[in-house]
């Protein structure tokens, strides 16, 4: 037998299957979309405002300073509430899985309460805390070292909204983190224990880092959801985006235009978060797949050139295709 390999036959060039159904569906969907868009656009166009047509008003309010300040507060609330939620959520999840029954029950009770009542109700509770607690006194007994604070000054509206959103989020994050921790194979814990690692160390060094891959995607969802839920801070008169547009709308009667402005900004912000989430997931996926999935941009470019659903990326098939061209 000679070692010569038979020449590789010509690559297959077949006529692809036609999909007339796809075209038909596309046309129907497009027609409906155009009709709906037209309805909204013309409604705004025909609305009379102090600045002419509705769209002129939308353009004006879109970059209004008050709206911008509202956006800033919305972002602040989102970031801080998520920070509270994530930190407290991890603690609650570890407590929930603790062999100590007191810890586990406290965590269960917390999740039961904060997940079982509406956020808006919780925000109102914090907002009206002075009905329960007139003032807060902290100090060392039998000494004059006492701090006295009025509840209302201790919890201004922003703080009430932050506590309501953050503590509620913690309950959800706790369940997400717990699911992530449970998803890590038990053999990992055993191997770590066999090496003499204590529970806390096993959690911190072995279980949590591996749970991240499961925890990150839903956390992204939660962040996007939180960005919109901050509009409930309206209930505590926090001047975030929704409250601001409402205030302007009440004064100018440009209700429709301001709702559109707020929607545009919420969409812009959630879109940015969606992109961010995609890249964070991609980063935490390292070490689990041979190659990383293509970025949307890479995918889009590939689709443009082929007019078909994107073929598998070169780096998804390292064995078959050469890399780096």
């Amino acid at each position: 037998m000679s070692d010569a390999v038979a020449p590789r036959p010509e690559a297959i060039k077949a006529v692809p299957v036609r999909h007339p159904g796809r075209w038909l569906a596309a046309i129907v969907v497009l027609a409906i979309a155009v009709y709906m868009l037209y309805t909204v656009v013309s409604a705004v166009q025909n609305d009379h405002t102090a600045r002419g047509s509705g769209w002129a008003a939308v353009g004006y309010y879109l970059f209004n300073g008050l709206i911008f300040r509202g956006i800033l507060v919305t972002l602040e609330l989102t970031v801080l509430a998520m920070a509270v939620g994530i930190v407290l959520g991890v603690i609650l999840a570890v407590m929930r899985l603790s062999p100590n029954p007191v810890m586990s029950w406290v965590s269960w009770l917390y999740i039961w309460f904060f997940r079982g009542t509406p956020v808006l109700v919780q925000i109102f509770f914090w907002f009206n805390l002075n009905l329960i607690l007139k003032s807060v006194d902290i100090g060392i007994p039998f000494t004059p070292l006492w701090l006295h604070a009025n509840t209302n000054s201790l919890i201004p509206p922003f703080m009430a909204a932050l506590l309501g959103l953050g503590l509620n989020e913690a309950a959800y994050m706790a369940e997400i983190v717990r699911a992530g921790m449970i998803s890590v194979e038990h053999g990992q814990t055993e191997a770590a224990q066999a090496l003499g690692m204590e529970r806390g160390l096993v959690m911190r060094r072995i279980v949590l880092p591996q749970a991240m891959r499961v925890i990150i995607p839903p956390t992204g969802n939660e962040t996007i959801s939180m960005l919109k839920t901050t509009s409930l801070a309206f209930g505590a008169s926090v001047t975030e985006l929704f409250t601001r547009q409402q205030q302007i709308a009440t004064a100018t009667y440009d209700v429709l235009e301001l709702l559109i402005v707020a929607s545009i900004w919420y969409l812009v912000m959630t879109s940015i978060l969606t992109v961010g989430q995609y890249y964070i997931e991609r980063r935490f996926g390292r070490g689990t797949q041979r190659g990383l999935p293509p970025t949307p941009l890479q995918r889009f470019r590939r689709m443009l050139f082929t007019f078909h659903a994107p073929p598998p990326a070169a780096d998804e098939m390292p064995v078959l295709l050469p890399r780096g061209h």
Partner: protein, 255 residues
């Protein structure tokens, strides 16, 4: 006076709920001895191994390692459970190798090996890395220090797992079917490493289905079935002329 046995089991019982997994295990493993444990699946051999480093609690009997009870302290005629920290300290002196390797997938090979020395024993990083490199060299994986576990073959992963256990400088090594999850052609490389360890005088308890390894490397052989030790002796004797019907039946199936 005979030396303190490395492992001493007296009437060890273990049950999972109503299921009795271990029904009175008595044995001794002397320092530098290599004991192989064979038996059909469900015979309790893995459970017994896991009792030795207290991954499982025993329900009755006495089990001690190097003269100290596993998981308990005896004062007067009462047993006191050891606190978590002390259980961990004792575990750190016993190496364990699992059937499914259980390497930490988010860490490189080197990080896997130095993790416990750094975090549990609080060793100097430079020294820990130096020893890890030596150990990895010894198991033939010097050039894989920066690879992640999923980039390695099963045999390579298991050899890293052995190096990871050795990095804690254990006085006893437990092997729980270390080659059962491997492709046939990769079994040899792992057994070679284990043979080297035995030659260096490591005390080992090996749950295995590799009769050849048991015969050549083992100092003693235990055949377990139904939660009891059915037969015990020199590997050559047990394997070539088993005394019990159950041993004969088992060996006829696997040899």
């Amino acid at each position: 006076m005979s030396p303190i046995p490395m492992v001493k089991a007296e009437a060890v019982h273990k049950n999972f709920g109503r299921l009795e997994v271990l029904r009175g295990i008595d044995l001794e493993v002397q320092p530098k001895e290599v004991m192989c444990v064979i038996g059909p699946s469900g015979s309790g051999k893995s459970t017994f191994l896991r009792c030795i480093n207290h991954l499982e609690k025993i329900d009755a009997g006495r089990l001690s390692v190097d003269g100290e009870l596993v998981g308990y302290r005896e004062r007067g005629d009462r047993l006191y459970e050891l606190p978590d920290a002390e259980v961990c300290k004792k575990r750190s002196e016993i190496g364990m190798v699992f059937q499914r390797f259980n390497l930490f997938p988010h860490m490189t090979v080197l990080q896997n090996v130095i993790e416990a020395p750094l975090r549990v024993k609080r060793e100097n990083r430079v020294l820990a890395v130096e020893r890890a490199r030596k150990l990895l060299d010894r198991v033939g994986l010097a050039e894989k220090v920066d690879a992640y576990p999923n980039q390695l073959s099963g045999g390579q992963q298991q050899r890293v797992a052995i190096a990871r256990a050795l990095a804690m400088q254990p006085k006893l090594m437990l092997f729980d079917e270390p080659t059962s999850a491997l492709d046939p052609e990769l079994v040899g490389e792992v057994l070679d490493v284990m043979r080297g360890l035995a030659d260096d005088g490591m005390t080992m308890v090996v749950v295995t289905h590799e009769m050849g390894f048991a015969r050549e490397v083992g100092d003693s052989l235990v055949f377990m079935d139904g939660g009891v030790i059915v037969e015990f002796g020199k590997p050559r004797d047990v394997l070539s002329s088993p005394q019990h019907e159950r041993t004969r039946a088992f060996l006829s199936k696997v040899l």
